[in-house]
């Protein structure tokens, strides 16, 4: 227990440290406008990473979140442009959930290793997105839709509210419901979970479907914010989402960590990228950084692990 408290403290300390360093290096950093931007950006990242967190808690992984986001957003956008302002997003969400469900089928029923199954889905979803969009970019959404990404409620940007709502919902689901317990148990010891009478298949199907649904949801907010969508928007999103989860302390081996950590991870990551932008560091460094962060987090996780046996 103390091990986990220490790392939470360490993470919060990192945030404070980053804030201090960045505001010294670049004074405009501390402006209210910039800080709100950072939190809004982090919210979008967090949204995408939240579904991934739940999957990883079951000791699985979902590599398809970026492509599913792109596919569902593309479909939703196309429909929205044709004045299906309510149905469009709904269909997008269904598509996301459907892709997730297929992932769940492959993992839970066929028994494919999660990274193979979702890696395949990554390419299928991307492929369909490319076909659907025919290489075009869709933009110019009606303002009612743009409200989602660019609007404010009570002065607070909608994406941030979205993050708060999702965070609360996920926290509740994971810590206060039977389902949440099953998720942790499956990740902590799958065989013991099975022998305790937990329905492994059903729960995994739900978890992966949820991940797909949340990816689609994140996608809607994402394209609403930037005001445009094309088939490849999902490509660069997997690595940051994975990095956010890892930094947040959720173990890739399952059963440890949680949504709270992912928020912190998303914040830290966004602070770093925002800082790099302010300091005019090329965005190409970001890919490098993400990769390095993922590797470092896993290494630290492995070395300080609470598990009994790791071979």
């Amino acid at each position: 227990m103390s091990h986990m408290w220490f790392s939470s403290l360490a993470r919060l300390a990192t945030i404070v440290m980053l804030l201090v360093i960045l505001s010294v290096l670049s004074p405009p950093f501390l402006s209210l406008q910039n800080l709100i931007n950072v939190v809004r950006q982090a919210s979008l990242l967090f949204l995408l990473a939240s579904g991934l967190t739940v999957v990883i808690l079951t000791s699985g992984i979902d590599l398809s979140i970026g492509s599913v986001l792109a596919l569902s957003a593309s479909i939703a956008a196309t429909l929205i442009k044709q004045d299906w302002i309510w149905v469009g997003p709904l269909i997008g969400l269904l598509v996301g959930a459907g892709c997730g469900f297929l992932n769940g089928l492959m993992v839970a029923l066929v028994g494919l290793p999660p990274f193979i199954a979702t890696y395949g889905m990554l390419w299928i979803a991307e492929g369909f997105a490319v076909v659907f969009m025919k290489g075009e970019i869709i933009g110019g959404f009606p303002s009612s839709f743009r409200f989602l990404g660019a609007g404010h409620i009570v002065g607070i940007p909608v994406p941030i509210l979205g993050m708060v709502v999702t965070l609360s919902a996920c926290l509740f689901a994971l810590r206060r419901t039977n389902f949440g317990r099953y998720v942790y148990m499956i990740g902590a010891n799958r065989e013991a979970a099975r022998l305790s009478g937990i329905n492994i298949r059903g729960n995994l199907l739900l978890v992966y479907s949820l991940s797909g649904f949340i990816s689609a949801f994140a996608g809607l907010l994402f394209i609403s914010r930037i005001g445009a969508v094309e088939s490849t928007i999902g490509e660069p999103l997997l690595l940051p989402a994975l990095a956010a989860v890892c930094i947040g302390g959720t173990s890739l081996f399952g059963g440890e960590g949680g949504i709270g950590g992912t928020v912190v991870g998303a914040l830290i990551l966004t602070l770093v990228t925002n800082g790099m932008n302010m300091l005019n560091v090329s965005s190409y460094w970001q890919s490098l950084l993400m990769g390095a962060i993922v590797v470092l987090s896993v290494a630290v996780d492995q070395l300080g692990s609470a598990r009994v046996e790791r071979t």
């Binding site: 227990m1 419901t177 317990r181 010891n189 013991a192 979970a193 009994v308």
Partner: protein, 500 residues
């Protein structure tokens, strides 16, 4: 004569947390002899062998090989000193050839192309080795496609090729046909003819008389006797294996009224694993399931619980036919405490609290939402009633002692209000004090109308706790013993399939 001894183990002691595995054990091996090592499950045979093989380290004692003291810290060192162990699960690489397996780690270099392996030489030498054992196996053959007996021969050839002086065989004949056993014995005789000393562990006592020169009996981690096979008889050996004075154990109350039938198993069949099983368990009784490792007891328990499928027959629990999944069984009211509680019974990285309620969530919180206060009360009640030693219910389960962990598993099932519980080795690896507590709990449970099926390898426990005992051997039930009929020897005889 001391010169004759290729191996001497002196005063070996080994302790694991809560269990004295070996106490002051002496053992020696002469050149060219087959020395049988026998004893019940848990007598200490595997621990002794593992210490010799470098898989465990001894606490106190000495190992002397060929007159020189040996310090064996790991398997590679044991190999270097001439010790070769052939385990029941072979150590072969499935998709390499026979020759590659025999020479693994010592591949001969090609004379003309440095860096390449001399396959021709490797195969020729392997062929020679196999022939010297009297076996006809193609050195190019892929090990995966060979039969078990042939794979075993590859292991023996491997031992020969490293010029092992001490070869240990752990239950070598459990999967062999009669003819294959004869071939194995012939190969062993060729080994001993070259001066190799063989330590042979077996539960098949008849083999002692077929191939053994001397036999040593271990019991409860202690050396009991060593004798020449020609001076021994089956009775004497069995008597040595079980002849313990049974300490006073928890006084079981057998005057409990038997209630409804909890479990009926009829003609259960699982291909290759279980045959023709018929079992009944009633509420108010503890039924013991005895037998040797590999007899099929855990397999039977898992099938009853729904963790594994079966091919034919019927399993009925509280009148309902059950088949399919653990989830279904739990719904009917069955609980299963597995043999390996860390791997199958608990999630060690989760807190105690979560492990206790995980199987009862649907019952406790039908709405799906967990009420912390109720959870707290429920878990705390169990901590009290089972006397679970923990500073807090939020403690990570990994940090609890073995006995406490077992109590947590028990709490988990009690929480589900299951009335039929299957215990697989309930007190293994648990200290004496906690053992007695668990026995008391089991007694209480059946007093309150539960039914228990208990698998145990500890004969005193089986005798002390069971109303009736089923003995299993090779996937079948060889005998049902009533409390009056049951003695340690009777159980062991039927467990070993000794019919004389």
């Amino acid at each position: 004569m001391v010169d004759d001894l290729v191996l001497r183990l002196e005063g070996i002691c080994k302790e694991f947390p809560g269990v004295k595995a070996l106490q002051d054990v002496d053992f020696d091996l002469r050149r060219g002899e087959v020395h049988m090592l026998v004893g019940e499950n848990g007598a200490g045979k595997s621990t002794l062998i593992k210490i010799l093989a470098g898989a465990h380290q001894l606490d106190t004692g000495r190992i002397v090989i060929n007159g020189r003291p040996a310090d064996i810290q790991n398997p590679a060192q044991a190999l270097g000193l001439g010790v070769s162990v052939i385990y029941q699960e072979f150590n072969l690489v499935p998709f390499l050839s026979v020759a590659q397996n025999i020479f693994l780690g010592r591949e001969p270099r090609h004379p003309k192309f440095p860096g390449l392996i001399d396959h021709a030489r490797m195969n020729a030498e392997s062929q020679a080795l196999l022939e010297s054992l009297g076996v006809d196996i193609d050195p190019w053959a892929t090990v995966h496609y060979l039969g078990v007996a042939q794979q075993q021969m590859v292991e023996v050839a491997k031992a020969l090729s490293v010029n092992a002086q001490i070869v240990v065989m752990d239950e070598p004949t459990s999967a062999l046909t009669t003819r294959e056993i004869e071939q194995l014995f012939a190969a062993i005789r060729r080994l001993t003819a070259r001066g190799v000393g063989v330590i042979y562990i077996s539960h098949r006592l008849e083999e002692v008389f077929q191939i053994g020169d001397r036999v040593t009996v271990l019991r409860d981690g202690k050396w009991i006797t060593t004798m020449n096979v020609q001076d021994a008889t089956m009775d004497v050996i069995i008597q040595a294996m079980v002849g313990r004075i049974i300490d006073r154990m928890f006084p079981r109350d057998f005057a409990i009224e038997k209630g409804e039938v909890a479990l009926t198993v009829r003609n259960l069949h699982r291909h290759g694993v279980l045959q023709d099983i018929n079992v009944t368990v009633r509420c108010g009784e503890i039924v013991g399931l005895a037998g040797l490792v590999g007899a099929g007891r855990t397999e039977l328990a898992r099938v009853i619980f729904g963790a594994d499928p079966y091919d034919a027959g019927e399993v009925t629990i509280f009148g309902r036919t059950v088949r399919g999944s653990p989830a279904a069984s739990v719904a009917v009211g069955v609980g299963f405490l597995p043999e390996d509680r860390k791997r199958e019974g608990l999630a060690l990285i989760l807190p105690l609290r979560e492990n206790v309620v995980v199987a009862s969530l649907r019952r406790l919180f039908p709405s799906g939402v967990i009420k912390r206060a109720k959870e707290h009360t429920v878990v705390t009640d169990f901590v009290k009633s089972l006397d679970i030693a923990t500073p807090s219910i939020n403690r990570m389960t990994k940090f609890l002692s073995g006995g406490t962990q077992q109590k947590v598993v028990l709490a988990k099932w009690l929480c589900t209000q299951s009335r039929f519980l299957i215990f697989d080795e309930p007190t293994r690896g648990i200290d004496v004090g906690a053992k007695a507590e668990i026995h008391q709990l089991m007694n209480e449970l059946v007093k309150q109308g539960a039914a228990i099926l208990m698998i145990s390898s500890e004969l005193p426990e089986v005798l002390n706790m069971s109303d009736r005992i089923y003995v299993m051997h090779k996937g079948r039930i060889t005998k049902e013993l009533s409390r009056e009929e049951a003695t340690q020897e009777a159980i062991l005889r039927h467990a070993m399939g000794v019919t004389t």
